[in-house]
Amino acid sequence: GSGASSDSHAHELDFSHFFPPTHFMEEEIQSFAAELEEKTDGRIKITSYPGAALAAPDEHFDAAATGSVDFALSVHGYTPGEFPLTSVMELPFMAKTAMSGSENLWKLMNEFDEFDAEYAGTVPLWLYTTDPGQLFTVDKPVKRIEDLKGMKIRSPSPETSEWLEALGATPVSMPMNENFEALERGVVDGTIAPWEAVKTWGLDEVINYATVGNFYSTTMFVVMNEDVFNRLNQGDQDMLLELAGERMAKKTGEVFDQYGRDAVEQAKVKGVEIYELSSTELAEWNEFINPTIESWINQVEGKGLPGQAVYDRAVELSGQ
């Protein structure tokens, strides 16, 4: 884009994401679009395409980077290996809330220049995490490590699989849309997921116990095609970055937290028993979980990236 600030005509842009059209994130996107349109005097007009209608969930980053859509929102974890540093937030105990996780992720991204390579071809607008992942089980509550022995648990990431195995559980990989029937029929005995997903995917119909330990965070990105961004005039670019960024990271985090709290309430009404691991109990779990964190750091350092520094800073930000 050579004529960076030359044009002032309207841009009609497409925003693609995988969330169901009825999900609250669609509302968030709509309100972001409305604000942006208003603040740019109608020069940027966004149409949202929910439900992965324009690209498969794991194609979203590429779709934005190559310009097949203008904006894309998806989960980093759907394309493993492509976001080595961002994946620090997927490690256990990184965030107690979506709001703090989102804020910290956005800070990390801005503090470490090495993040930029992960988002090549796009302009990252905001990053965020969902409310932390907890352990949900069907037939048996998990209060101590021994309870977990031999249980089949659906795992969201290879790191989670690793420590689940260390704790004596059997990790199972499967797509989220099979999780309900798998839990219902007993193909798996439990799952690791955020409260948000429990409500979204109706899992509270089948699970009976929750063990709260903040084991995992799903991280998501909202990015824009770089060329399209460069085609906007300077004022609109600034306005877009101002409206997005930390503001939206926090706002999205807050919405996930609120929805997560609603999910907890709804689960309680449905009779789900919730057990919160104490810090002494968690210390015990930690012995089994720590090797996973170390191997994550080694792996990232092995790629010539500052894994240790990013991890340390992430821990510092989380205030552990």
């Binding site: 439900g51 097949s68 859509v69 309900f180 798998a182 119909e205 089948v206």
Partner: protein, 433 residues
């Protein structure tokens, strides 16, 4: 040109390419790509060509299709399929259309294993079409049985689409899955009734065989056990949680493989044929699904589905009239789009309206499945028909499209019954607490 017009021209172009004998898959890819290019530019459109084929072909929920087909091949080449139909012939061969009804019944059973119409249709086509041909059943009748029976796949639980509907609308998934059962059985009975009437009016469609002596009936059963065993293992495995419906394809194929080996019924030649026929059939089906994916991205961007739905939703008419119009729109969209695409594009407008008008959300999920199933059997984008036509290469797609019309009539009748008597859908889920 507005996206809507590009969409309409795209549909016309698609029909034109079809009749000029461009393969269905290639036509869909061409029109989809050019359409995307006209709306979003060539770069964006061509990028889709580099991503969609791989992501569609590597989709986990579709990966089950070849395995289910392979299971059907093993059962067919080993002669177990033939034995099943011999037994059925021994018991009910003298009844009008007995084998055709059996095909519907077996599909219903099979639907308890498979959560998708594609897998049910492909497997049943492979098992039943050669047998019905042997008994000189009319092509149109036998293929339409398989097409109709296959649609039971997503009504009778498990059902991938009803789970998706639950997620989109937050209706309870457990209730939705149960809700499909009775309509599935009703649909099955209607199909059987239709077959009986058709054969009664025109006996040459399905020649009856003479009544067999009782000893022979008993003897015929001895060969059916592998079939029953395999079904029992698969259904049991799913309901007791040993494997998911997706995995059932792999386990079923493996089980069929072991059975045929142990019974010494599968020659190496047939084994190789089973494999290569399965891979070719899979390639043909997936090529079309890839095309349909690209084409539906184009239709989504043309905004036609959303615009029509919004228009109908905005009309000031009585609830029943609005419902009727919505169903009509779905039937039209079903001509060109696959079920999941229709769900995603229209539900945000339609679902809130439907519940506001006082209709039950669980009930509407089942209604949508029925409408979507109709779309699977209608041209130009009728995936079930294309699947059957790739199994039965000698029967052209347009013949199957024509033959299936009476079955479509039954599906519409079932739809009407369910709209008039919602209790058919709702009484089972209401029994759940």
């Amino acid at each position: 040109m507005s996206p809507e017009w590009i969409g309409i021209i795209g549909i016309v172009a698609l029909l034109l390419l079809f009749v000029l004998r461009v393969p269905v898959a290639v036509s869909l890819i061409m029109v989809g790509t050019v359409g995307l290019a006209l709306i979003r530019g060539w770069d964006a459109a061509l990028v889709q060509l580099g991503t969609t084929p791989f992501s569609t072909a590597s989709s986990y929920s579709l990966s089950v299709i070849p395995l289910f087909i392979l299971m059907g091949m093993f059962l067919s080449y080993s002669g177990f399929g033939r034995d099943l139909y011999t037994a059925v012939d021994a018991w009910i061969g003298h009844i009008k259309g007995g084998l055709a009804m059996t095909t519907i019944g077996t599909s219903a059973f099979f639907s308890a294993i498979s959560g998708s119409v594609n897998a049910t249709t492909a497997t049943m086509a492979r098992i039943s079409l050669p047998e019905m041909k042997k008994y000189k059943y009319d092509d149109a009748l036998s293929t339409s049985c398989v097409a109709a029976g296959g649609t039971l796949g997503i009504l009778i639980p498990p059902s991938v689409i009803l789970v998706l509907y639950g997620i989109l609308t937050m209706e309870p998934i457990g209730k939705l899955l149960i809700a499909g059962l009775v309509p599935g059985i009703l649909q099955m009975i209607l199909f059987m009734l239709l077959i009986y009437i058709m054969v009664w009016r025109k006996p040459s469609l399905a020649p009856v065989t003479e009544k067999k002596p009782f000893a022979m009936k008993i003897k015929s059963l001895t060969f059916v056990w592998p079939f029953i065993l395999l079904f029992a293992l698969s259904i049991g495995g799913i309901y007791y949680g040993y494997f998911t419906p997706t995995e059932a394809g792999g386990v079923g194929a493996f089980g069929a493989f072991l059975l045929t080996i142990m019974a010494r019924r599968l020659s190496f030649e047939h084994f190789k044929k089973s494999l290569s026929e399965t891979t070719r059939l899979t390639a043909a089906i997936f090529f079309i699904i890839i095309g349909a994916d690209i084409f539906s991205k184009f239709l989504a961007l043309s905004t036609i589905p959303v615009k029509i739905t919004q228009y109908v939703s905005g009309l000031a008419l009585p609830a029943m009239a609005i419902l009727g119009l919505i169903l009509l729109v779905y039937l039209v969209l079903g001509l060109f789009l696959e079920g999941i695409a229709i769900f995603v594009l229209t539900l945000p407008v339609v679902y809130p309206l439907i519940t506001m008008l006082g209709f039950d959300g669980v009930w509407f999920g089942v209604v949508m499945i029925l409408v979507m199933n109709i779309g699977l059997l209608t041209p130009p984008m009728g995936l079930s028909i294309y699947i059957i036509s790739s199994v039965a290469k000698e029967i052209p797609a347009q013949r199957i499209f024509k033959g299936v019309i009476p079955m479509l009539g039954m599906m519409v009748l079932c739809l009407i019954l369910i709209v008039v008597f919602p209790g058919i859908v709702l009484f089972l889920p209401e029994l759940m607490k």
